[in-house]
């Protein structure tokens, strides 16, 4: 068709868009699920944690607070020396400060921290954003399985 003057062409574009279905999602009723790798919230697998404090030290925002104590555990082999194991008392992540950079999840040598794409945990009071050990444990349920990688990828799927 002949090159319409820009003014008419522009009107055509807006009319065409008006007749096409809208792309917006009506949030409270319909929900768009985020990508499985999305960094929504950090989940803690308590049994893996050995209170090595690496995550608390590497965190740029200083938003991980950890307290633990040592305990004696029965030796693996009988007659052996009783093992002294660190046990976690307090593991809080303050999501008011966290910038979701993921250094803690990556630096943890014992795979105790995982990413979960869940994002609906906003609070009315900012102090409630301090998730304690128990709340972080609950997030473990929402952590997806590491997904298969694209063809041609060699490295194993990391968390």
């Amino acid at each position: 068709m002949p090159k319409l003057p820009g003014l008419i062409g522009g009107l055509g574009v807006t009319l065409k868009t008006m007749l096409r279905p809208a792309v917006t999602v009506q949030y409270p009723h319909e929900k768009e699920d985020p990508a499985p790798r999305a960094r929504g919230v950090i989940a803690l697998k308590e049994e893996n944690c050995t209170v090595c404090m690496l995550c608390a030290r590497q965190c740029p925002d200083w938003c991980i607070y950890i307290e633990g104590h040592k305990e004696q555990r029965p030796p693996r082999r009988e007659g052996g020396r009783p093992r002294s194991v660190s046990v976690l008392d307090r593991f809080d992540i303050d999501y008011a400060l966290c910038m979701y950079c993921g250094i803690c999840v990556e630096v943890c040598p014992f795979d105790a921290l995982f990413w979960s794409p869940d994002y609906e945990y906003s609070e009315s009071r900012i102090s409630d954003l301090l998730h304690d050990k128990q709340r972080l444990g609950e997030w473990m349920a929402t952590v997806p399985e590491p997904e298969p990688l694209e063809a041609g990828a060699e490295s194993k799927g990391k968390k």
């Binding site: 807006t14 868009t17 008006m18 809208a22 009506q26």
Partner: protein, 342 residues
């Protein structure tokens, strides 16, 4: 009012008429605002607009907004010129109500059937310039002052093209009376076929286009929204207004759009008349017909508003003086020649 075959005094009919007009303008503004600003604009921008308030497609949104505005705190700037600041929105809205005194919605449904209806309507519509200037000056805000000065220059510059567009219609209809114009369009015929009547849009197409452009400028809508340029002057002369004063401006803006669309429908699309409908039926059907034509014209105006960027001040003025006014004069000459020739 013979229609209802009651003989109610002159005072009560006037009271009824004013109440009707006082109801029509805000509802008209809300309908126009809702249909075009909320729903059409959002669909044009591939989104749905308000869906939740009021259940079906968020119809309650603007009513809710109105209530919200009323209960908002009415802030007045410290150095504001208090009385002028308070009066300004009233003046702007006044001009909208006055226009509706003349627009006919049926053979008998008109507040006052003035013989100089068109002249009166255009004269009153330029009242809002004073209101805008008052608002801009009184709010003691540099952005508001800039916006008001721009509005003054623009509204005055676009009075002339508006006038010339309408004069063409008046020459063809032979009368300034709006009822007369409507009847002239109703029983006219185009080349012998009188089924559709003869809406002036067919013969006065230049006038119709001119009227739309000038009305767009009168309403300070894009591409002529320099006075309310949201990316420069934040919101021009309305910047310091809150609460129900801002509601006045909102109703003023969309009420004037409603009024101008009604005026355009009456002048160019044959107002309330459908050929072949007379007497009482016309009184009942008239308002709906006018409303339908009005919405068609308003669709054109808002469609342009949501698509185009904004002209700069000097381009806006040169467009008015160098293009629209010569076009208006040409249209006048053509109408005169045709009037005499046929």
């Amino acid at each position: 009012m013979e229609l209802l075959a009651l003989d109610i005094g002159w005072g009560t009919t006037l009271a009824i008429k004013t109440i009707v007009v006082l109801i029509i303008i805000p509802t008209g503004a809300l309908i126009l605002g809702y249909v075009f600003l909320l729903k059409m604009m959002s669909h044009m921008q591939s989104r749905l607009g308000p869906m939740d308030p009021g259940g079906f497609h968020g119809w309650y949104q603007l009513v809710g907004d109105g209530l919200k505005f009323i209960q908002k705190e009415d802030v007045m700037p410290a150095q504001a010129d208090r009385r002028v600041f308070a009066m300004a929105p009233a003046v702007v809205v006044l001009s909208t109500f006055l226009i509706f005194a003349v627009i006919p919605m049926g053979p008998d449904l008109v507040v006052k059937d003035l013989d100089v209806g068109v002249f009166y309507a255009l004269a009153v519509s330029s009242l809002s310039v004073i209101g805008v200037l008052m608002a801009g000056w009184a709010s003691a805000n540099k952005f508001a002052l800039l916006g008001a000065l721009r509005a003054a220059a623009q509204l005055i510059a676009y009075e002339l093209p508006l006038l010339l567009a309408v004069v063409g219609v008046v020459v063809q209809a032979g009368t300034l009376n709006l009822q007369g114009i409507v009847t002239a369009q109703q029983d006219g015929s185009i080349f012998g076929f009188s089924g559709l009547g003869e809406p002036f849009i067919l013969t006065q197409f230049i006038g119709f286009a001119l009227f739309l452009v000038a009305a767009q400028a009168e309403l300070t809508q894009t591409p002529f929204d320099m006075p309310v340029a949201e990316s420069e002057l934040v919101s021009g002369f309305m910047v310091e207004y809150t609460g129900f004063r801002f509601l006045f401006f909102f109703i003023g803006e969309f009420g004037t759009a409603f009024a101008f669309a009604a005026l355009a429908a009456t002048l160019f699309l044959g107002g309330w008349a459908i050929p072949g409908v007379e007497g009482d039926w016309a009184n009942i059907l008239g308002p709906f017909v006018l409303f339908a034509k009005l919405m068609a014209v308003a669709f054109l105006m808002f469609w342009v508003r949501f698509t185009y960027p904004r002209l700069r001040e000097d381009q806006l003025q040169s467009l008015a003086w160098k293009v629209l006014i010569p076009l208006g004069l040409l249209n006048l000459v053509l109408t005169g020649v045709f009037k005499v020739a046929f």
